[in-house]
Symmetry: C2
Subunit: 339 residues, 2 copies
């Protein structure tokens, strides 16, 4: 065990797009497992769009990370030392340990993983917060009915890729919107979407009309901006829009504007913003339904893994530029389950 705990701390608040300059790599003292404590080593750190909000001090749905504090984030770790019953050295756990190599707590914030039921990294991707976001947003808010058309933006991303696959499992037509030919091909060929529109090159409204010959019943919104405005034009009567994210706006330095909401009125459509953490009562149902789907290969996922904590800042910036392809993870230390 090293003498120090490497941490990535928030040094300054970004204006617009975050940069690597906003972070500080620090060697902190190694934490110790006191009586009742569980010390663990981070294996995987999840990078997610919501992190942009935590870097700002503007009011959002969660407290911002204080300057000088370790940056927050979901993690998969291995227990190094346990002084609490229920955790043993060598156990794999998932928690919210943030951007650091080691963490300690009483374990109340941890869930033990079974590496035989699914790869441990899935606890922070398809079977973690992104997957559950897709599950709650599509099923509980979108209420998909067989034969309906579901459109999802950021279709090759951690959430979007699951939304489309769950839509197919619920007998809907699944149409993605993504930012490159590779991502569109992936959505259709690997994930089984019925179609995928490239928002960077396609003329969006006609492309959506072609991809959605029966209109759009559910639009799972991850991005905002011009993509949202285009989808509003092709909504069906009674459409539902689970509003999960607006990544195109997160780095705006002036108040972004949106489209008129007239289509919502004309089409009697509904938008509902949601935050997955309000829906923890659905976690058991989600894991029960989706774990076997992952195991059987019916719910596929793709990870985009960078090596080493020191590369996390650049990878986060890349996330906002759409440079990742699949769920963005940082491998902070070797994964003993992958050889």
């Amino acid at each position: 065990m090293p003498a120090t705990n490497r941490q990535m701390r928030l040094k300054s608040r970004p204006v617009g797009l975050p940069s690597t300059e906003n972070f500080d790599l620090v060697d902190a003292p190694m934490p110790a497992a006191d009586a009742g404590g569980v010390l663990r080593r981070t294996i995987y750190l999840s990078l997610d769009p919501y992190m942009r909000g935590r870097m700002s001090d503007a009011a959002s749905y969660a407290t911002p990370v204080a300057l000088g504090d370790v940056m927050c984030g979901h993690t998969v770790s291995q227990v190094v030392e346990s002084r609490r019953p229920g955790f043993r050295a060598g156990d794999f756990v998932t928690g919210y340990d943030g951007w650091q190599q080691y963490a300690v707590s009483n374990g109340n914030d941890l869930r033990v993983l079974d590496p035989k039921s699914a790869p441990i990294s899935t606890a922070i991707s398809v079977l973690g917060m992104p997957g559950m976001t897709a599950y709650v947003g599509l099923l509980d808010i979108g209420q998909p009915q067989p034969g309906e058309t579901v459109v999802v933006s950021a279709a090759s991303g951690a959430v979007g890729s699951i939304v489309g696959q769950l839509a197919k499992i619920k007998d809907c037509r699944a149409v993605g919107i993504a930012g490159s030919p590779d991502k569109c091909r992936y959505a259709v060929d690997d994930l089984g979407f019925d179609a995928c529109v490239n928002y960077k090159t396609d003329d969006l409204v006609p492309a959506l009309r072609t991809a959605c010959p029966n209109g759009v019943d559910i639009y799972f919104e991850n991005v905002g901006g011009a993509v949202f405005a285009a989808v509003l034009q092709v909504l069906n009567r009674g459409a539902r829009i689970p509003l999960c994210g607006l990544i195109s706006e997160y780095n705006a330095t002036t108040d972004p504007s949106g489209p008129t909401l007239r289509p919502l009125l004309v089409k009697r459509a509904m938008i509902r913003g949601f935050i997955v953490s309000d829906h923890n009562d659905r976690a058991q149902a989600f894991l029960r339904e989706c774990t076997p789907l992952v195991r059987d290969g019916r719910l596929r996922y793709r990870e985009d893994i960078v090596e080493g904590l020191e590369r996390a800042p650049a990878a986060l910036v890349g996330l906002f530029e759409g440079r990742n392809f699949g769920k963005m993870l940082v491998r902070v230390s070797p994964d003993p389950t992958r050889t």
Copy 2:
């Protein structure tokens, strides 16, 4: 009975704000009540914001009025001649006869009114489409809970005035937004709103914060534009926004823009567009609940009546300029119940 039936027909489609030039006053042949027919004389014609949409040929939730056709509208009439059982000469009825002095049909589109239960004009105002719009939007979509705060724009108008009063009846705080000191005073002093903000002179966001010390749980949206953007800033978590109208945008000649929807995400809020005609199954409940409230003076209303069909076009233009004060009606012929 005159030899001709005076009608106001749609002559041309407006660009931007409608003008009196878009209408043609025509003397058409007098219609006759054939076997099974009910001939009636229009007493009151309702002027409503939705009419702007029917004057355009852009897709909306209803078919546009064809050029040369009689302009559409809700009416209160008196039966002149009935050749169908169930209707007698002298009966008062409400229907959708449009901008004309006389109309004939088999009566399936008519409902007979009891002039003793409420003034007949209320059938197209507080106990008609505007009142039912308030009822369905506030109660079914807004789902007000005692102690919550309800904000409504166009607060002195036909719909807004009922929304605020129903909110008070449901033990909510009612806050209006209106466009003149007179309208604000009317909302507070005559209708019993707790507060009313003047969107033309007040600094909206701070004025709303003062008027809504506990934030906004329901925003009944009639106007759009800057008012909508301001209310988004003061929403409570879990807020509901019944989207009833966007009158500030109806005459736009370029695509209006809206605010970012980020507050919906942060506050897990919901917007749902609705059209009252989808909710006809609620008409009986509405009349059962609201007719006694009107009779007892607990649901107050104000009518802004212009005299004569020839003045309807100018009155409609005034509606979009906020010049009316109360439900805009045209008295097409004398009301025998008012002496």
